[in-house]
Amino acid sequence: MPVEKITQVSQTKPWLGGLAPRAGEPLLYGLYTHGIAGERFFREIKDNGKFVGTRCPKCNLIYLPPRIYCERCFNGLEEWVEIPNRGIVYTFTAAYVDLDDNRLEKPVIIALIRFDGIHGGLIHKLGEVEPGKVNFGMKVEAVFKEKEKREGNILDIEYFRPI
């Protein structure tokens, strides 16, 4: 006679867990270096408020964020190029919920900013603009945090705003 199934809801049981073996113990977390290219990229933002990319001479592409390799031809990239902090909105969305699924009173406008002659771009939010006013190709510029407050990560850019 085979063992039978659960036939009563009261017999079901969820077993709770997460990234620690027991409640009260420290959780696992991630510590990520920015990498060889990322280190220089964020240093330039932190120290000089500038964007830099790397150029692949073979494919004639300038990568932003910079890479130490070209994803297309796989050559190592060593030529660093300064990139102006003005770009255009390539695509965008208005997020009405946050990471915790809370409904936002005012949506956050998120965009991929691309730059003239540059391969790639930056994902960030747009500021100083109403959701209905954003369009494809809109010219925007980066607003950096004050220099003392910069920590060398993507939040050193506060947002992009229309020019």
Partner: protein, 387 residues
């Protein structure tokens, strides 16, 4: 029916490091680029890419193969990740083999990457998320328990001493002195191992390989292509993998039956009847020193409980009749899980081509086996290479 012949034609690797500055992508690129350069190929020549990388909990990136793909050279190519826990590295070598043997592709790039240092507070913490969440992890189960249990059982059944086992660590760390990528190469003594801090008896600090960041890559080619690329192709003669039940209490840990099954599968394909005689060099997986012996027995390189004798007789030294871990293994080079598995395959590749530099074993070896182990004392993955 004859199978399509597949060769390894190029290899590359990064240093193995406690903590690398490179991102996982960058590590993968460094190894992959070097492998392609070593055989004069470019990314254009590559038809498909396979990735080997152990749990996402190390790199702390969900779906990490996706994240790593451009670094591995997968841009707009068929790309897939195979996974067998600690056995992943050698499985990746098998995975690449069947991509080509299937007839779908002619050139395949196999990349194994691990960036364990991303996992905080300690990479070892990742392991408690592996065990059964209902009956095992709630005990606060640590990775070392498993190895200690297995080592204890293995020593007790065969009457082997901790001291004798320590010689594996001494041998491998010494072999690693000649490896340019080694993380913990050292000239140490058995006493050093015995006197190192006890972590989970019988496991001591120097019985254990270190956690690592690193990447390794191999280039595979079908026979027609391989012969055009190189005069020294190294053929994949046999592959095997096998997984035992997860219920650790349901089996006896003193012998890795799953490694034996995987080895038999690979030997059958390679036509090997007497592995102890027909194999010139071996890279059994050595995350812990006793594990080299344990795995070598599973590989049928000797009888059960006899590996220790070969070690003590010097047979497994680099100059011995059948060197084990001439690379320095996980104990010496470092244990970047999947990358270490593929490093072992790369080592056999270099040794068979006579390109292992100061590590070169004498006597022109012509057949070697690499093996990895994994999961909850469950996985055996094996590859046999020959010239």
């Amino acid at each position: 029916m004859g199978m399509r012949r597949v060769a390894i034609v190029g290899a590359g690797m990064t240093k193995f490091m406690r903590r690398a500055q490179e991102t996982g992508k960058e590590l993968a690129w460094e190894a992959a680029k070097m492998a392609l350069d070593s055989c004069g190929l470019t990314l254009k020549d590559v038809d498909c890419v396979v990735m080997g990388t152990a749990p996402d909990a190390f790199d702390m990136i969900h779906m990490k193969a996706e994240y790593l793909s451009d670094g591995a050279g997968a841009w707009r190519k068929p790309y897939v990740r195979g996974f067998l826990g600690g056995g992943t590295g050698v499985f990746t070598a098998c995975h690449a083999w069947y991509h080509i043997a299937s007839g779908l592709f002619d050139v395949c790039l196999a990349v194994a990457e691990e960036k364990m240092s991303s996992c905080m507070p300690h990479p070892q913490g990742a392991f408690f998320t592996c065990w059964d969440q209902f009956t095992e992890s709630p005990l606060g189960t640590s990775l070392l328990w498993f190895f200690a249990w297995e080592m204890n059982r293995y020593m007790t059944i065969h009457g082997i001493s901790e001291r004798d086992i320590a010689l594996v660590s001494v041998k491998n760390k010494k072999n690693a002195l000649d490896h340019p990528c080694a993380q913990v190469a050292a000239d140490i003594t058995v006493d050093d191992v015995m006197n190192s801090e006890v972590m989970a008896w019988p496991v001591k600090r120097l019985d254990v390989s270190p956690t690592s960041d690193g990447a390794v890559a191999l280039v595979y080619a079908a026979e027609e292509v391989a012969k055009r690329i190189t005069d020294k192709p190294v053929w994949v003669e046999g592959v095997g993998w096998c997984l035992d039940t997860m219920y650790i209490g349901q089996r006896d840990l003193y012998y890795p039956k799953y490694v034996e099954y995987a080895a038999r599968m690979a030997y059958r394909m390679a036509g090997i009847k007497e592995p102890d005689k027909e194999i010139d060099i071996a890279e059994p997986y050595d995350p812990f020193d006793y594990k080299e012996l344990h795995n070598a027995e599973g590989l049928l390189l000797c009888g059960k409980g006899e590996a220790i004798k070969l070690l003590l007789d010097g047979v497994t030294q680099r100059t011995g009749r059948q060197p084990w871990c001439p690379s320095g293994g996980a104990l010496g080079v470092g244990n970047a899980i999947a990358a270490t598995g593929l490093m072992k395959v790369a080592e056999i590749f270099w040794q068979l081509r006579g390109e292992a530099g100061k590590r070169q074993v004498p006597g022109k070896p012509r057949r070697g086996v690499a093996q990895a182990w994994g999961d909850e004392m469950q996985v055996g993955t094996v590859i046999v290479l020959g010239t």
